[in-house]
Symmetry: C2
Subunit: 327 residues, 2 copies
Amino acid sequence: MNDYRIDNLQYANWSEKIFREMREGGLDAVHVTIAYHETFRETILNMEQWNRWFEQFPDLIFQGLTGADVRLARETGRTAIFFGFQNPSPIEDDIGLVQILHQLGARFMQLTYNNQSLLATGCYEAYDAGLTRMGREVVAEMNRVGLVVDMSHSGETSTLDAIEHSTRPIAITHANPHRWHAALRNKSDTVMRALGESGGMLGFSIYPHHLKDGPACTLDSFCHMIADAADVMGVDNIGIGTDLCQDQPDSIVEWMRVGRWTKGIDYGEGSASNAGFPPMPSWYEDNRDFNDISKGLQGIGMSEIDINKVMGGNWLRFYDTNFGPAS
Amino acid sequence: MNDYRIDNLQYANWSEKIFREMREGGLDAVHVTIAYHETFRETILNMEQWNRWFEQFPDLIFQGLTGADVRLARETGRTAIFFGFQNPSPIEDDIGLVQILHQLGARFMQLTYNNQSLLATGCYEAYDAGLTRMGREVVAEMNRVGLVVDMSHSGETSTLDAIEHSTRPIAITHANPHRWHAALRNKSDTVMRALGESGGMLGFSIYPHHLKDGPACTLDSFCHMIADAADVMGVDNIGIGTDLCQDQPDSIVEWMRVGRWTKGIDYGEGSASNAGFPPMPSWYEDNRDFNDISKGLQGIGMSEIDINKVMGGNWLRFYDTNFGPAS
């Protein structure tokens, strides 16, 4: 029975405690962000840290490379950890690093993080000209090796351009429908439909700035949003990407927003008066709450088959077909 | 039947021509040097170049990671290419890079190249104090992941220290017995015996500076040397590592010897009057001549079983047990 549980985006301050909570929450797989603005060498240092965790906690976690590893995780009572980047900074200006990083296990890479990158335009830029010359080349190379294009923080034109140019389905790993909550990071009906029609995936975020009513958002409202999104783009093309940033100090949200691109400050989705990590909604504090989303979906009358698709089955199907070389 | 053909050391100026010659020579596997003095990032660039060759010439070559890939190469009429470093420069000062580079396919790493390194002493230093503090740590990490210690260019004390400290067999991928030709790079009976007793491997080199009579060395003399080495250290612990540097300009032998460690010049095994690559013996010009070594061994009366061990069987057994995590 396909009742796998996958959280397709986290950037927590990982520790044994959190790995144990992943197990308590029944998570078979988690896609973890291992780079925001890191260079190639800095990304390798982050992979080295994960290698040490894999060595230290072999009974809790291991590195996932394929969909088969999600099944192995279930069979062995562990959580498979899949690597991703929220920015193309790890490939620097070198297309050859796409394959190298894929060889090391990278499975998702955002083409932009809020700003213009070498590849595409971020959602905070005033003008979005779509994929760049290098962007088209890199998307083709990502398609060739099986590194999934993620457009969560990209502008709308770039996102539609990526969906069209990519020969394989893309993902928006962590965002919600703009029709539910009109945040700049949330996605239009146009994007949702194009994504669904192309076989892509949208992962619903529980990061408060993406939620209607922010931290006060109810589980019921979140689940109704999911059911509505299923109507717009199909129940086979949606999943969860909580964007859980557990145990991080506020210096990290500043790093996420500012990196090294300004000497000043940028509040991203926050503001001067609300600069730090926003508090999570009461119904989602950590990985142990993951299955409560299933209960919420049951509560609004979603079928068990559809709940299992949303909670992990769709991501697993997507992993199975998009993490290896194009056939 | 175990009649595999493996050349366990080359540093050619690779090209489609040479890959085709590997096929004509019937080579199932070649261990290629991809770093002499390169930093981590420069080594990655060399891997990127190999990735492009693997993409361009999939009918001739592919990247080998395990002994099973040698068998796959035979079945599919291709040559499996295994990566190695002649210096620990690719790991810089970072033990975490051992696993990262193993993940990318590195299978052999010399602890030194002629000079003192962070890990051990090279064969051209005046004093050899053996493995350093970091050297012991790195050997243990190499043992853990399955990256083979190679001491071809190391001093004798460091080599014996590595054999003793390593919990898995080590290799001397390209050198000859000192008893046959008293070059600084060739190995003493003491080293040969310690290597054989520990399950290690010695690969015989056809680089002229390692040969009795240099380029004038005969195939017959080379083969008698092999038979004699079998008597000293056992016929199960020897193989071939030609050190073929085909089509390289002389600027490359200068890079090999000088790297960036001096503003002056060092002639290594050469001399001011013989500074470039020495000419190869007439019986070994390129990969197409590989099987002539078998004929030479037949000519001196070696059994077919032993010939097959020397020509690749021993390396394949070594690959099978030393390229993965310690069990």
